[in-house]
């Protein structure tokens, strides 16, 4: 579906007409990310991160496919083949750093994309399915990133694999056999490494598939916007191309600037030196932490130090960690406020900026810190607030809050009230 005033694809070239009659792929692209997709005229730079996330996915697939041409997923030679890439393969060092830092960049833009959704209420009707698909993509990304980190078969790879698969061991009754089944052994070894490589290669293409669903679902109602007011007429929209291709192109340039700065000047800043030591099942590194993008969830995992009624602390931590993301699936129905954008919701905004964001920041910090006081206590408080925010505060705020007046339309939000709109538009 699209708005009735959307531009229509009319190929002039006879060849393109011929193609359009048989396989209307150019038409599909035109209507999806071309001049045929009308987009609200007031999108700010937070709307860049969807395109940037798509770019990161392509970047990771391209560099990953190339790295797989040189990498050997065998516990005997995996570490050596990684070093072979770094030392012998033409440009191998750059391709590997591009892939490792590309993973971090992917998470940066996806977190900002999710942040945009949280603040501007992008998850609300009629875009619930867009949101749900997005959460699925995020879960797949986490699984892919985790398995990718195991492949170099350094110390952090090995112990990361051991700790994360150990989470499944917390499940009652089936936990331990499940963990052994996942690893294909009693500890990470060749069997685990091989299946992680296979899945690490597969999952990005699954992500690409869900991304198509994500965008498909988005194009039913069209993009949201910072006011949260739905498109009412033609004056509220501009074509995606050239207006947002240009804006996204500029954002992409800024992104590439920062990304290349990391890639070429700080390639190991986000990694762990211990991962340049070959995997050793006999010795655990002193300070073991996951990659930075898992820190908030790792903090929630470690926040549970005492048994919770009849549930053991270990299981509780695992449930809370998975629950902290699964709760996002229910967000469209927990936040029942009819006003979409946080811009017009004074009470929501207070809890967002002074509640959720600080709690996330604390969890992020504590996840990277050693498992000792005061970080454990801080993690516990932040975890408690995190769940309270989604499960209790959001529904209550939605029912007691008195939102600020909304603009009548997007055009009015941009150009002022209707009395002056025509005048300003003409000037």
């Amino acid at each position: 579906m699209s708005f009735p005033w959307a531009n229509h694809y009319e190929p002039q070239n006879p060849l393109m007409k011929w193609v359009d009659d048989r396989l209307p792929l150019p038409r599909f692209v035109y209507n999806a990310i071309g001049a045929g997709y009308p987009v609200p005229r007031n999108l700010n730079y937070f709307w860049n991160f969807g395109v940037l996330a798509g770019f990161c996915l392509v970047l990771q697939i391209v560099t990953g496919v190339v790295l797989a041409m040189h990498y050997a997923p065998n516990a005997l030679v995996a570490f050596d083949s990684t070093e072979h890439i770094m030392r012998d393969v033409n440009w191998g060092w750059m391709l590997r750093y591009a892939h490792a830092n590309g993973a971090s960049a992917f998470f940066v833009v996806v977190y900002l994309h999710i942040f945009r959704g949280f603040f501007y209420g992008s998850y609300k009707a009629p875009r619930e399915m867009v949101w749900l698909m997005g959460v699925v993509i995020f879960l797949l990304m986490m699984a892919t990133a985790f398995m990718g980190y195991v492949l170099p078969w350094g110390q952090m790879s090995f112990w990361g694999a051991k700790v994360i698969t150990g989470l499944f061991g917390a499940i009652p009754l089936v936990g331990e056999p499940l963990q052994i089944w996942l690893l294909g052994g009693f500890a990470p070894d060749n069997a685990a490494l091989n299946r992680f490589f296979s899945l690490h290669f597969l999952l990005p293409f699954v992500i690409a598939g869900v991304v198509i669903l994500h965008i498909w679902a988005l194009h039913i109602p069209g993009s949201s916007n910072p006011t949260g007011v739905e498109v009412k007429g033609e004056s509220d929209t501009i074509p995606f191309h050239p207006y947002y291709t240009a804006k996204d192109g500029f954002g992409l340039g800024v992104f590439l600037f920062l990304y290349c700065a990391m890639l070429f000047f700080l390639p190991n800043a986000l990694g762990h030196p211990d991962n340049y030591i070959p995997a050793n099942p006999m010795s655990t590194p002193a300070h073991i932490v996951p990659e930075w993008y898992f820190w908030p969830f790792y903090a929630i995992l470690r926040a549970f130090t005492a048994d919770f009624f009849f549930i053991p602390a270990k299981l509780m931590g695992v449930l809370a960690m998975f629950g902290s993301i699964l709760v996002w699936f229910f967000l469209p129905w927990l936040d029942t406020s009819p006003v979409r954008s946080g811009h017009y919701r004074p009470l929501f905004r207070k809890f967002f900026w002074f509640g959720l964001i600080p709690a996330m920041a604390v969890l992020f910090y504590c996840g990277g810190a050693p498992a000792e006081e005061p970080f454990v206590m801080m993690s516990q408080l932040a975890t408690a607030y995190y769940f309270l925010h989604f499960l209790v505060i959001l529904p209550i705020v939605a029912s007691v809050e008195r939102p600020e007046p909304l603009p009548y339309s997007i055009t009015e939000a941009v150009l002022g009230s209707d009395d002056n709109a025509e005048l300003k538009a003409a000037s």
Partner: protein
């Protein structure tokens, strides 16, 4: 819609407003697309280059061989760049046969002297790779079929090479390739 750009000349502003001539936007457009295009093409360089032989493969590209144990009439197969290389100690009869051929009648005209080193005319060193489609010809091993001309015979598509490893019959277009090599002493050859 008037704005002060400080340096813009009056004609340029007038042209921009009437939509004629080269507008500033055209310049920005070409500059941006040009920079992105050049950047994109340059990005392809590492992606293409990574497929080329890596440094460790290139480091294995020369082979040293002790030939003191090879008697006249014998040949050995050595490995050079993961491919077989034939090192053959020719008998006087084989040298005579090779020199008796009219070079002009050959498909790939070369004399035996051109295919060996001065002072070591009895040592024929060639790649063991048929120039047709890359099979390993027979004839270097004891008792193998040497073909109709007493050199090498490729069983894949029936190419016959003579005692100087020149193509005489069959589909192969060229003589067996002579790799770069040198005698580092009377008994040691360095190939590559």
């Amino acid at each position: 819609m008037t704005e002060s750009t400080g340096t813009a000349d009056v004609d340029g502003v007038a042209a921009a407003e009437s939509g004629e001539g080269v507008r500033r936007r055209d310049f920005i457009n070409i500059a941006a697309v040009g920079a992105a295009g050049v950047g994109g093409v340059v990005t392809l360089l590492p992606l293409v280059s990574q497929m080329a032989p890596s440094k460790d493969v290139l480091a294995e590209s020369s082979t040293e061989l002790d030939i003191s144990a090879i008697q006249p009439g014998q040949a050995v197969k050595a490995v050079f760049r993961k491919q077989p290389v034939f090192v053959r100690n020719l008998t006087d009869k084989e040298i005579e046969e090779a020199n008796a051929v009219d070079v002009g009648s050959l498909r790939d005209p070369q004399t035996l002297a051109e295919r060996t080193k001065e002072g070591h005319e009895n040592w024929l060193i060639t790649m063991g790779v048929c120039t047709h489609l890359g099979c390993v010809p027979l004839g270097a091993g004891e008792g193998e079929n040497k073909g109709e001309f007493g050199g090498y015979f490729c069983p894949c598509h029936g190419s016959h090479y003579d005692t100087a490893a020149r193509i005489r019959k069959g589909p192969a277009p060229l003589n067996l390739q002579v790799p770069e090599y040198e005698f580092t002493s009377d008994t040691v050859v360095k190939i590559g």
